[in-house]
């Protein structure tokens, strides 16, 4: 490339970066949803799965007290001791999701080998909370029997083997899909706005009057948006690593960075195409946001794609973000290269396709 063209490319690149920096609201819009979600997840995750429950222990006998201790030690509830009246008040005031009552004759019944039910009153307003309670109470009963050791009447025991060397905390697991969403969303919105703005403010005329090939103009635009998006992705990855949420093991940093770069490029190319096709910021922002968020959810969102319904898995095969999320999770959490070649190939082809699409869209609009 001639030095004069390089200088022009540099000028286009700097101009787009300067315009991006001047639009703080846009920066906030592409970061706020994801950062907000991560923060809220980090606060709320401590409470998820451990519902608040009031415990009424009417039995002072050994079995009743043992059951009470088991319930406290089971780590499946956030328990509050209460009298029957207090428990009803707590349930009524939505301070607890359920009331567990150990009846007064519990020990007597256990010793007589008569049925000894533990009463559970559930506020069954949605199945998410209700099923948690439905699982948790029998879980505590299981622990009650397990605590009896060899004297336990239960002769069936478990032998657990794990497929992977380490457990990944649920919150950590959600950070990587959110990182992919952030990168895709920022790439799409930033480049879509940068491109649409040229038409809306009619500066496209001035750019086109410059003695430069259109490819160079497109390249400058893509490079500027890519720089912003890729840098943002690296900053979030670095923060995740510093906080010990998403720290790739040695040797996996390079694949991780490569995947972030490819998702950034795919988002940027698609954004240029959207911006050029719509030519209006007002339309480009929501379309860019929706494209990114749809792609994110159709790739399984923060869940595990393989466990989602069949129709969603069928769609996800054609969603490049599912490959991005998979590659990142393998690299960061499991130090695995499982399907890495496929993931990189799909993401590279997507990036290439979106860049060509972006270029074609700009050229078509210029010609029009």
């Amino acid at each position: 490339m001639k030095p004069s063209l390089l200088r022009s490319l540099w000028a286009l690149y700097r101009k787009d970066l300067a315009v991006w920096w001047g639009n703080r609201a846009t920066i906030a819009a592409s970061i706020l949803p994801v950062v907000g979600f991560i923060l809220i997840q980090s606060i709320g995750v401590a409470a998820v799965g451990r519902n608040p429950v009031a415990l009424v222990t009417l039995d002072q006998g050994p079995a009743g007290q043992q059951m009470r201790q088991i319930l406290y030690g089971s780590d499946v509830f956030r328990l509050t001791d209460a009298t029957p009246d207090q428990a009803q008040a707590l349930l009524h005031d939505l301070k607890v999701a359920a009331v567990i009552t150990i009846p007064a004759d519990f020990t007597q019944r256990v010793q007589a080998h008569d049925p000894a039910p533990v009463s559970v009153t559930v506020n069954n307003l949605n199945l998410d909370f209700t099923n948690d309670i439905r699982r948790a109470v029998p879980d505590a009963i299981t622990q009650y029997y397990a605590a009896q050791g060899a004297a336990s009447p239960i002769k069936v025991t478990l032998r657990e083997t794990d497929l992977r060397a380490r457990d990944v905390q649920f919150f950590e697991y959600t950070v990587l899909p959110m990182l992919v969403l952030l990168v895709m969303l920022n790439g799409l919105v930033t480049s879509a706005m940068a491109t649409a703005r040229e038409w809306e403010s009619r500066t496209i005329k001035e750019v086109l009057l410059a003695p430069l090939p259109p490819e160079l103009i497109i390249l400058g635009k893509v490079l500027a948006s890519f720089t912003v998006t890729f840098s943002l992705g690296l900053v979030v990855l670095g923060l995740g690593a510093a906080l010990d949420w998403t720290r790739p093991v040695a040797g996996e940093w390079l694949p991780t960075v490569l995947i972030i770069a490819l998702v950034s490029l795919a988002g940027t190319g698609l954004g240029v195409a959207v911006g050029a096709a719509l030519q209006r910021i007002q339309a480009a922002i929501p379309i860019g946001l929706f494209l990114a968020i749809y792609a994110f959810f159709l790739a399984g969102g923060i869940g595990v794609l393989a466990f989602e319904p069949g129709w969603l898995q069928a769609i996800a095969v054609y969603d490049p973000l599912s490959y991005g999320v998979h590659a990142l999770q393998m690299a960061v959490f499991y130090a695995s290269n499982d399907q890495f070649a496929l993931d990189v190939t799909v993401l590279s082809l997507t990036s290439l396709a979106t860049l060509v699409l972006g270029g074609l869209a700009v050229r078509r609009q210029i010609a029009g």
Binding site: A28, P33, G36, F37, I43, N126, N131, Q282, I285, E308
Partner: protein, 371 residues
């Protein structure tokens, strides 16, 4: 009286003007009308996977006790079960299609009948602790449930459940009502904010302000135009929610009333923000950027008080989305999600609407003077 009629005519004229401009920008208008519906679809995708872990069971024993154990697993509210051979189960877990393989040994029935220990192998695809802990808890509780049925004299401690409500509500019908509120929020914010900001951006606000029309009438007209668009969007979203998703309101009157109240608040919010920011480019990212965090903090998934995190509760209570969710959950399902009661929750929204409407008018007045 004649002044009031004149103001009403001005308001209607401004609303008509905004609607006509909307017709010239068809793509954006259609987009803002379909925006709430998109929110409904998008955020519903959160809940589709449900809480059941796909699990393969290798039945090396087909005796009656082994079958009973399988049934106990099926009733544990935790698994999506499928029977498989050992080889098929390995292939499924290696391909990441299932969370766990539970292997019931060939001597299961014989060992239990002889009162001898028996080991059930559980292989877990420990992708994340959410799924892993579900399996770690659900298999033992299946064992206890199995014993409680097969050997009630041996395992006599059981859970006797009493439900507070007559019927369970699935997660999708619950969550979609919360999503509806955020959809209504965006449906009100966007047309109001963009229409108001457009007046400043194009400089047409000068002509409006120089006219003899009262500022309040102009503001009311802007809100009326946006409110009509938001109303169309709300009707489309509600039709999809009721007819396609199948979530029918328990109290139709409440549903209509709270929908209108929510639209009024967010149309006023949109007008206020549009007047303050004066640029669509600044307003739109702000509106979109705040929607997702607001959805998560406002008790969309269940009563906030269950979280026992005062900071989160306090934050949610500062925004009208929280109260609107409480009210719509009552309208659709008859739930009380806080202790304020229906009237007080509604009153908070009414006061919110009055304050935001007044603020929007005030900011327009002040903008006039400084312009």
């Amino acid at each position: 009286m004649s002044q009031l009629m004149y103001d009403l005519r001005v308001a209607w004229a401004v609303a008509q003007k905004d609607l006509r401009i909307g017709l010239t920008e068809r793509f954006s208008t259609v987009l803002s009308i379909l925006l709430p519906l998109n929110f409904l679809i998008l955020l519903s995708l959160f809940a589709i996977s449900g809480g059941l872990s796909p699990t393969a069971v290798v039945m090396n024993d087909s005796g009656p006790l082994a079958q009973q154990f399988y049934q106990a697993m099926a009733g544990a509210h935790s698994f999506r079960l499928q029977q498989a051979s050992a080889a098929q189960a390995q292939a499924l877990i290696q391909a990441g299609k299932i969370v766990a393989v539970v292997t019931i040994p060939a001597n299961f029935d014989a060992a239990l009948q002889a009162n001898k220990p028996v080991v059930v192998d559980v292989q877990i695809n420990n992708l994340n602790t959410d799924f892993t802990n579900d399996i770690r808890r659900a298999v033992p509780l299946s064992i206890t449930s199995f014993y409680a049925k097969a050997y009630p004299r041996l395992v006599n401690v059981t859970a006797a459940e009493h439900d507070l409500l007559a019927q369970d509500t699935d997660y999708i019908p619950y969550l979609t009502v919360s999503i509806l509120v955020v959809a209504l929020m965006m449906g009100g914010l966007l047309p109001a904010g963009t229409a108001t900001a457009r007046e400043w951006e194009n400089g047409t606000i000068k002509e409006l302000l120089l006219s003899p029309a009262s500022r309040w009438a102009i503001g009311a007209g802007q809100m009326l135009g946006a409110g009509l668009l938001a109303g169309i969007a709300a009707v489309i979203t509600l039709l999809v929610l009721i007819l396609l998703v199948g979530v029918w309101p328990l109290h139709w009157g409440e549903m209509v009333l709270f929908t209108l109240l929510t639209i009024i608040i967010f149309v006023a919010w949109g007008t206020l923000l549009g007047t303050l920011l004066k640029k669509r480019q600044a307003f739109m990212p702000l509106a979109f950027g705040t929607s997702l965090p607001l959805f998560f903090i406002s008790g969309a998934f269940g009563p906030l008080s269950f979280l026992h995190i005062p900071f989160m509760e306090g934050l949610a209570e500062a925004f009208p989305v929280y109260y609107a969710i409480v009210l719509q959950q009552h309208a659709f399902h008859g739930f009380d999600l806080n202790t304020l009661g229906l009237a007080l929750n509604a009153l908070v929204l009414v006061v919110y609407a009055a304050v935001v409407l007044a603020l929007a008018g005030l900011v327009l007045q002040r903008s006039t003077m400084s312009h």
